[in-house]
Symmetry: C2
């Protein structure tokens, strides 16, 4: 059975998945890199950037779980790039260079469609303007029986949670208080009734929380 999964999604103690004031220079706004420092040190992240010096501890074990079994990703336009409104041109192909780390079809949610673009290494970006269920249906078809990852950002995860479309979720609670930004948990009151939840803290100070559909 093809599952819908969320991985390596960081939130602050006060539940913010991104800071205020996002821009090309500050993709996470005033949060800076604080939400993802644990992830940047993992082998999974370092290998995406051609480095071999990443950690192999529990943070890495949690991080590495993002990829196996995934056949497609769905992401919001804000994850794809800093542009807003109609595309001025089609030069931007994401933050990840010619060979993005996805290696699957990736469905980018946007009200401003543009032609699909095939990258090196198996990643193809499709631009879609459709509600969660419809996008999921397309992503599932593209995934060929494998799982579909919801790649974020905050509003995309929230929308899929609200429609009860998520089967498994890995959230990393980072011990900082952001105070401002986008809240992941808004609209998810009583989430614990739908999921079996487990937690493990690691020496980096992060607490990994897994949600598995009951």
């Amino acid at each position: 059975m093809s599952l819908v999964r969320v991985h390596n999604f960081s939130v602050s103690l006060d539940g913010f998945g991104t800071g205020e004031g996002q821009s090309a220079e500050s993709p996470f706004g005033h949060a800076g890199e604080r939400l993802h420092q644990w992830f940047f040190k993992t082998r999974t992240f370092r290998e995406m950037h051609g480095q071999e010096d990443g950690g192999r501890g529990v943070d890495e074990v949690m991080a590495a779980n993002w990829n196996p079994g995934i056949g497609a990703e769905i992401m919001g336009r804000n994850k794809f790039g800093p542009q807003r409104g109609p595309w001025e041109n089609h030069d931007w192909n994401g933050w990840w260079g010619d060979n993005p780390p996805f290696h699957t079809p990736v469905f980018v949610l946007t009200h401003h469609p543009r032609p699909s673009v095939e990258m090196e290494g198996g990643t193809t970006f499709h631009f879609v303007d459709a509600p969660p269920k419809e996008v999921l249906s397309r992503a599932r078809e593209a995934a060929g029986g494998l799982d579909v990852r919801i790649g974020g950002g905050v509003t995309v995860v929230r929308d899929f949670l609200a429609e009860d479309l998520v089967d498994h979720m890995h959230i990393a609670v980072v011990p900082i208080v952001l105070g401002r930004g986008e809240r992941l948990w808004d609209g998810s009151e009583g989430l614990e009734k739908r999921f079996h939840i487990e937690s493990v803290s690691t020496p980096s100070g992060v607490t990994h929380v897994t949600f598995t559909r009951r």
Copy 2:
């Protein structure tokens, strides 16, 4: 040196320390007992109620740390009782019976003072209408060189954090999404700059987070 400490303070994943709709029947509002189930199972809690069947695991170790070295407590009126506004009479002496578990002076913050009341076992309730620093000064004097505990609820902890009066804090993050109520972290942006923070998850699913002033 006399420290100001917070212990066994539970919040949900979305940062609520109590639910919406508090009343005499539902002291934590719609949160019910969900925030404190881990605590109710500990030996520390069970002994407060004359029972000897409490747990002795890591949750208990964390819970038991609330008491040693404490010479006074400061609590909000909403923790003391469900009444609001002027006291109709002085019959109510807290939720804890004739012999409350504090065994120290307890300063109850209220805009409606009433005479101090001496209970069995060393607990004396004092009713004070003063800003945090002033109450703390009185509590410190009463504590005779020992530490002062901030007993909650949410707004009291928040007020003492806002004035940077807290030296040590133990927060239990419970894996539920409350959605409504009073948020602990509001106004505490950047708290991590002031505290060294450590986390440990336990089999109950709770993550204990300790904050120690840097």
